[in-house]
Amino acid sequence: MKPSSTQPFRIAKRGALSAAREVQFTFDGRSYAGLEGETLASALLANGVHLMGRSFKYHRPRGVMAAGVEEPNALVGITRDNARHTPNVRASVQELYDGLTATSQNRFPTLNFDLGAFNSLMSTFFPAGFYYKTFKWPRSAWDKVYEPFIRRAAGLGTAPSEADPDRYANRFAHCDVLVIGGGASGMMAAKTAVDRGQSVILCDENPTLGGWLLSDTDVTIDGQPGVQWAATMATGLAAHDNVRLLTRTTGFGYFQQNMVALAERLTDHLATPGPALPRERLWQVRAKRVVLAQGAIERHMVFPDNDRPGIVLAGAAQTWLNRYGVSVGKRVGVFTACDTAYQAAFDLAEEGVDVPLIADTRPQVAEDILAQAEEFGIEIITDAQMTGTTGRLRMNSMIVNGDREEEVDALITSAGWTPSLHLYSQSRGKPQWDAKTQRFVPGQSPQDCVTVGACNGATDLQTALHEAALAVGGKPADFAIADDVSIAGGMIGETRMPQKRGKAFVDFQNDVTAKDIKLAVREGMHSIEHVKRYTTNGMATDQGKLSNMHGLAIAAEMLDKRIPEVGLTTFRAPYTPTTFGTFVAQATGPLFDPERRTPIDGWAEENGAVFEPVSLWRRAWYFPQAGEDMREAVDRECQTVRKTAGIFDASTLGKIEVVGPDAAAFMDIIYTNGWSKLKPGRAKYGIMLREDGFIYDDGVVGKLSDTRFHVTTTTGGAPRVLNHMEDYLQTEFPDMRVWLTSTSEQWATIAVQGPKACEIIEPLVTGQKLDNESFPHMSVAECKVCGVDARLFRISFTGELGFEINVPADYGRTVWEAVWTRAKPLGACVYGTEAMHVLRAEKGYIIVGQDTDGTVTPHDAGLSWAIAKAKPDFVGKRGLERPDLKAPGRRQLVGLKTTDPAIVLEEGAQIVDDPEQPTPMKMLGFVTSSYWSGSLGHSIAMALIEGGRDRIGEKLYVPVPDAEPIEVEITGTVFWDESGERIHG
């Protein structure tokens, strides 16, 4: 469609955009022209379009009301492509760019004709709290009728259909002073701080610094127009090294100890963002002092039919006119309780806009204002009430005092200004009620946080600038300020309404009327927190920026209480809706979590390994050969290890070096078994408990000398085991002379297991004989392997003769290759973690965290032999004495064999003794490990079962959904080589 070349409501000579480039954009498929640098709302208004959305509940036609983030109605979807569709964008803040594509929301089929508006006719049936009442019965209707209906009706806009392709960034920053809000007071605070040598971050959600000064064409500071003064201030600040100015940046979260989160938008205003640019950047700022200069938000008037398109806030009309050169109408009425609306009216009149009538609720208006109105020929009605408006998709007239109807195409309203307490409240500051001015204002923040300017309750520029200087320890200076209009005064609550017709909206986005709030109070909601939840007042995406104070005042009047007695709801982060992308920042894909790789990982990849994640590590799971599936590969790997040998990358094992004169004494206290008497050169399996007596970790420990141990831990347990040991060392045994160092990654660990293990490595080893006498099972030696310093263990996690070679990590890959060069011709294989699991399960070796779950003692696990009874103390010794841990009937680790040898049980499956019993059945325990054992020709499993060791030989059952229960026999845990001879070669 051809764009309309004329913008009938554009006043080209007004505002800062006279030199701006004309750009094209579409709204609901129709093309329009606008100016670069204005907002989407401003551009639509320039084209005479007020209708921008439909309300949530009643689907009433709605126009834009506000020029900032408080806008409740004009929520649109902005689409760049299928993956870049952003719903619920406020047209009042979206900057226009060439080619922008916007669509309205919450309507079907079109914005002008919306079937959902039927709800409006039914509004009698949708009062406050209707969903708590309507959907109670019949119960059966909930799943099929009510819930689907509510789900379809709920939610605004549509989510994008593809994954977000944009990049998001994160930055941590520190500063002496963080200023939030770049209006007059914010800039003054920043300038004062930087002049005092402090480092400053100043952020503002708008593209340009200046705040209200950009919208006010009358005020002058030291003879300079406000807008010029702001530009000079901004330029001055930008020239400093220790100032960071962040525009298009919203301070949205205020956390502990002056940690403040800012969202910087970098591309949403660009027609063609460069590919390198992140869309948004999250700033996590730690500030010594935070200065909040967020300003104030204008309130609307609550009167019947106050939601017709064309009814806007007076300050918004002033912004559109004075910043962007757009008039909200040709004939504009005014309804106000505050002086600032007059300024907007006069600005419009100055540009030849017809302003026939100002209705003011107040009995009196100041003389100078009356005089100005007379100059413009504007009629003023004081003590006035608006009793209605007419029009469907756009207002046609305003009705004052029930009988005076005036034709207008727009109405500007102001009920006064609410100090913005959002971040102050998030800082855990308690708002204070000021009875004289009928406002909540900030008190003392518990953090180093100062509020200044309009958000602190200042109503004039001079006061705001004074507060700003004082906030950062500066001296307040007096400026020559002229034509500054005070933002004091106004009203809260609904205007007096002689007639009971028409909806007087308090919360536009959630369609909450004054009547709804009264109903909530009548139905027993006496706290504002209850009123809020019952009516949903203030619970929309704008978080009640316009509605909260009105709602509170109406509830207080109904309750006949003072406003502070009814309370104020707490403000929560985020201040404005914030994208998930901003929170996630760069932490996606490979930067979401570290994927740790061993020095041998590359070899495994080149040799066809399939990988599995084990804690943060990626580990080789199995090595399929051509045509093999997983079970075939694992079977082959296991049987090759048992018959010949296999090599395995065990580098992920946690390793801790325990060093010092008291090393053995410390080991005695941390582990259940004894270490002092262990000879250097020998190794031992150790179990470590928590204080409560449950197994915490296990592993083999080699004693290198009387003062040095090489401790191994489970792969996943390495960091917490080190912390556990360090914790006890520092808090319980600070006198012990022993130190802990993590060496997990210093060493690459190569396990060589199987009958030919010795034959494979023997030629590679120097400095240590490997025969059974010189180097028996459970030995450790410092020697050389392939010419490099190594720690060699004679150790087995398979039940076969085995070694573990530890070499410094950078040698891991070449030593591995040398071992493989020896192993391959002998018929050995490479095996992965799955075969490792099967091999250890065949031997009944437990894996902590799989066969134990934090409620298993060494006795339960069949490891009583690993507890030194003679030791006076160790961590968990007293825990083990607890009566419930000694009681009979505890779950014990046993083996399971299925009657049908081919069935492999599900890990985690529950076990019962009589599958015919009624549900819920008595569960005796569950399967912890379960595998197919190719070496044995049947499946094997381990399970924790009540009194399990006394039940060996019994038949139990594993119930399976939609199938016959599986019969199992309880056995011992060792399935392979019960005598344990093979380990000795």
């Binding site: 941590f172 930067l591 002379r737 210093q746 010419g787 410094p808 990590a809 950078d810 040398a818």
Partner: protein, 195 residues
């Protein structure tokens, strides 16, 4: 126990000296404000020492260990970084085979070779601090973290040791398995610092 293998084969393999491979081989990134390089192989010791061990190890090093938080001391290519009240990271950034572990054990110290546990990256350029701050929450202003200071801190979810060697130069030490992640964050940060 089976013992097979001809003498010739045995002799040949025993002579073999395994070659060293490097987790950071070939890594380099540069833009106008940040340059990232893999550091050369270094000798490293994790030193833990009681009070009287400080003198013992200082004599071994030939210079005094620093004893205040964040402090470092250097002589030639040997650097001692204070990490905690009884903990230091000792680096020789030029001689990967430097003997940083004393030959004779001493009851007052624990010196553990971690040369292969860590790898190093070098960041230089005006945007280096901003690039690090993309993922490192530490205050890297010159007032809070001047040249010649070091700290154990985090980069994203990885633990690192950060050593500011000059105004615009940092050394990042991390554990070797974190290399892909840490490198990814460093490049990401360098790109963001350049915007």
């Amino acid at each position: 126990m089976a013992r097979v293998g001809t003498k010739a084969a045995t002799a040949a393999t025993k002579d073999l000296i395994a070659a060293r491979t490097f987790a950071t081989a070939g890594m380099r990134y540069a833009n106008a404000t940040v340059t990232l390089d893999a550091a050369a192989p270094a000798a490293r010791v994790s030193l833990r020492a009681a009070d009287r061990g400080i003198g013992v190890y200082s004599r071994h090093l030939g210079f005094e260990l620093p004893t205040t938080p964040g402090a470092t001391a250097s002589k030639g290519s040997t650097h001692a970084l204070w990490l905690g009240p009884d903990e230091w990271l000792i680096l020789d950034t030029k001689n990967a085979n430097a003997k940083l572990v004393p030959t004779r054990a001493n009851a007052a110290i624990s010196a553990t070779d971690v040369s292969h546990r860590n790898v190093g990256f070098i960041l230089t350029g005006a945007g280096a601090a901003d690039g690090l701050n993309a993922a490192c929450p530490r205050d890297l202003s010159l007032e809070a973290f001047p040249a010649k200071t070091a700290s154990r801190t985090i980069l994203g979810k990885a633990e690192i040791v950060l050593y500011r060697t000059a105004r615009d130069a940092f050394r990042v030490e991390c554990w070797r398995s974190y290399v892909p992640y840490v490198w990814g964050l460093l490049v990401n940060g360098a790109q963001d610092a350049h915007l």
